[in-house]
């Protein structure tokens, strides 16, 4: 039941993505409205599926690749909806909703059966550590979308070509503001995620930090965002530079999450494809 619920949400994310893209092309209000609705339904079903799986499995279901991809899609859709409703920034949907869809469909192709929990994961730290990181990463996903929009819009203004993109995308200032706000929310989440992970590692593996690939790449990601935050606050990095860093940062997030899981075996290999 919950597995099909988790998988069926993919369709809603796809519908949301298509509707938001339809909106940005045609500028028909209805596209954005229906897109929001599709994502909202998707999120509700997804959360229900997640809760059911939690009840069935008896642990927070973020332990393998299927579960984590699915949860990541849910986080992205949630964070996006919050930003969209707060800023009334419907064009963002065309850039972020497809991300939710991509992660969702990726997970839908993986086997969803509940596996026995690895003993090392049986801990209260599991939900805290993983949820902090995924929500943080979802916030960075929104910053990534806003970053791409910023670069597109900036190019229009700079090159003085007022094409279709110019009319559709919001002002540079608003996009830069989203970049900043995402950073101020995402960075603390990432930091706390790493700290809780480190404490948990001390309990589970007997060492706070053991330089396994996941840890190393988390640190790289953290340093990137730390540099961006520092640059913003002290020298006034903003605009293009900040947008590029938000994009690079999210690529690092993706590599830490997926690249490491799929390519670099280590202590964190609970969620590689082979499992």
């Amino acid at each position: 039941m919950h597995i099909s619920l988790l998988k069926v949400t993919t369709f809603f994310y796809l519908a949301g993505a298509i509707l938001y893209l339809y909106f940005i092309v045609t500028l028909k209000e209805r596209g954005a409205r229906l897109g929001r609705m599709a994502l909202l339904i998707g999120v509700i079903l997804h959360a229900a599926g997640f809760a059911l799986r939690y009840a069935t499995a008896g642990y927070t279901p973020v332990t393998n690749l299927f579960e984590s991809l699915s949860f990541f899609a849910l986080s992205i859709a949630c964070v996006f909806l919050v930003v969209e409703i707060r800023y009334n920034m419907r064009t963002l949907g065309a850039f972020v909703a497809p991300l939710a869809f991509v992660f969702s469909i990726f997970s839908a192709f993986l086997p969803g059966e509940i596996a026995e929990l690895a003993p090392a994961l049986n801990s209260y730290w599991l939900p805290v550590h993983v949820l902090l990181l995924f929500v943080g990463d979802a916030v960075f996903a929104v910053a990534f979308g806003a970053g791409i929009m910023y670069l597109l819009q900036e190019k229009q203004v700079k090159q003085k070509k007022m094409g279709a993109i110019f009319k559709r995308l919001p002002s540079l200032d608003v996009l830069d503001d989203i970049n900043y706000r995402c950073l101020t929310i995402g960075f603390p989440l990432l930091t706390m995620g790493i700290i809780t992970g480190s404490i948990w590692a001390e309990y589970a593996w007997g060492s706070y930090w053991s330089w396994d690939p996941k840890e190393t790449w988390s640190l790289i990601t953290w340093l990137l965002y730390a540099a961006l935050l520092h640059g913003r606050l002290t020298v006034g990095w903003r605009g293009r530079k900040a947008a590029i860093l938000a994009i690079v940062g999210f690529c690092a997030v993706l590599f830490t999450f997926l690249g490491v899981n799929l390519l670099l075996p280590g202590l964190h290999s609970y969620s590689s494809l082979s499992r």
């Binding site: 203004v157 700079k158 007022m162 002002s171 200032d173 503001d177 006034g236 990095w237 293009r240 530079k241």
Partner: protein, 441 residues
């Protein structure tokens, strides 16, 4: 019940010397409207007079030309021989007139396609006619419909969406760069006409403050007073530049007054907070290289003109969609007009109660059970004669071709009492919000 006619002239048919001679000043409009309706053939009238067009819209009585009378009035009122005027005037009747006003109100007939003022001017013209009671039910509905068509065009097409003047284009760009302008400062250097206009637009867009500088300080003081800004000395531009988010410049200087290095330096001091330079001077005041600096955008007059040109092209293609809306609405208005006529009303009335009658006859016959042809005949003739006697009075009043206005009320009343639908072939478009004329977007 008459037909709608429009006569007039606009920027395309008449040069400004003619237009200004034929304009109706607003204080004289009441007088003119009353004079217009003194003409025997004209029952309702509205006069639209703007700097680009002078038009008379009237309802001509049954059997009259209308256009000729309206033209004569125009000539007589301004004391110009009609012969001299005729070459400049156009005239429209019936559906053509309806289409014309819809296009005017939707700004499809304007010199600058999609410019927003015309709708307000049409509303004013309607207001005068209402004030001086020269408008009746037909033109009232016609103008209400014109406003709703204009609203439809505005919301459903992009005919008026983007700036088509240099100064508006500058404001539009500023909004795309800064979003909210309420905490932004403007620096106005020099005093070109376009620059001042752009400054005015920026002020009405709600910028926080404006600094004004000029080679002669007195002039700066004077302009600053006018804009409610702060005058600064020309030599101190570099001191104040860091506080300016938007710089408008048009001096007569033969060389750049703001160099790339100045911009490099000031953007560092501003910690990269964006700057928008609008250079309206020829030769240019601001080094175009400054556009290379991150978070700095430099537009010169050619750049702005290019923006406008693209926008105008877009408006042209959007105008096609708008024309479709107009055509559709003309049809829908035609259906409403038809419904105001006696004959179709009589037909609808008859048809409706024929149906009622037939249904009742069938019911009555089936109650008798056996199908007796004689019985059928009796029942049918009873029903028919009852129906004819009841409908006789309303139909003969409708047929009495009384003078237009009363008759229209009568038609409306009959339609209301007998609950007749407004149009025989409803398509569902445009009818719903005919009276929902709210100017908000």
């Amino acid at each position: 019940m008459g037909r709608i006619v429009i006569i007039g002239l606009n920027h395309r048919t008449a040069p400004v010397e003619i237009r200004e001679r034929l304009a109706f000043p607003s204080e004289a409009i009441g007088h003119a409207l009353r004079g217009l309706l003194e003409r025997e053939s004209l029952k309702e009238g509205v006069i639209l007079s703007t700097c680009n067009r002078v038009e008379i819209c009237a309802l001509a009585s049954q059997g009259f030309e209308g256009t000729a009378e309206a033209k004569e009035f125009m000539a007589a009122y301004h004391g110009i021989p009609l012969g001299e005027l005729n070459g400049y005037l156009y005239h429209y009747e019936g559906d053509e007139a309806v289409k014309h006003l819809f296009r005017v109100g939707s700004s499809l007939d304007s010199m600058v396609l999609g410019e927003p003022q015309i709708l307000g001017q049409v509303k004013d013209a309607y207001g005068y006619a209402a004030e001086f009671r020269t408008i009746g039910p037909i033109l009232d509905k016609f103008f209400a419909k014109t406003f709703s068509v204009a609203k439809r065009v505005r919301t459903e097409t992009k005919v008026a969406s983007s700036a088509v003047s240099v100064s508006y284009a500058a404001v539009e760009l500023a909004r795309k760069i800064f979003g909210d302008l309420s905490d932004k400062n403007v620096l106005l250097i020099g005093a070109g006409e376009m620059c001042e206009l752009a400054a005015r637009h920026l002020i009405s867009a709600g910028v926080k403050g404006i600094m004004v500088t000029n080679r002669t300080f007195e002039r700066a003081v004077k302009l600053a007073e006018e804009f409610g800004g702060i005058p600064i000395r020309f030599e101190e531009i570099s001191v104040h530049l860091k506080r300016a988010d938007i710089v408008l410049s048009s001096t007569g200087a033969p060389h750049f007054i703001i160099q790339r290095q100045d911009v490099d330096e000031v953007i560092r001091i501003r910690k990269n907070r964006p700057m928008f330079f609008i250079d309206m001077a020829v030769p240019r005041d601001i080094d175009p290289d400054a556009n290379q600096v991150d978070n700095v955008y430099v537009y010169d007059i050619d750049d702005l003109n290019n923006v406008i040109e693209t926008n105008l092209e877009e408006r042209q293609s959007e105008a096609l969609k708008a024309e479709e809306i107009v055509t559709e609405e003309v049809r829908s208005f035609r259906r409403w007009l038809d419904a105001q006529q006696a004959t179709p009303t009589i037909i609808t009335l008859r048809r409706k109660y024929e149906e009622v009658k037939n249904a009742e006859v069938v019911k009555a016959l089936s109650a008798f059970g056996a199908d007796d042809p004689k019985m059928r005949k009796v029942v049918e003739s009873l029903a028919s004669s009852l129906l004819n006697k009841i409908l006789h009075a309303p139909i003969s009043s409708l047929k009495k071709d009384a003078d237009g206005r009363n008759q229209m009320d009568l038609v409306a009343m009959v339609r209301e009492i007998f609950d007749l639908p407004e149009a025989s072939e409803r398509t569902g478009t445009g009818d719903a919000d005919e009276n929902g004329e709210t100017p908000q977007e």
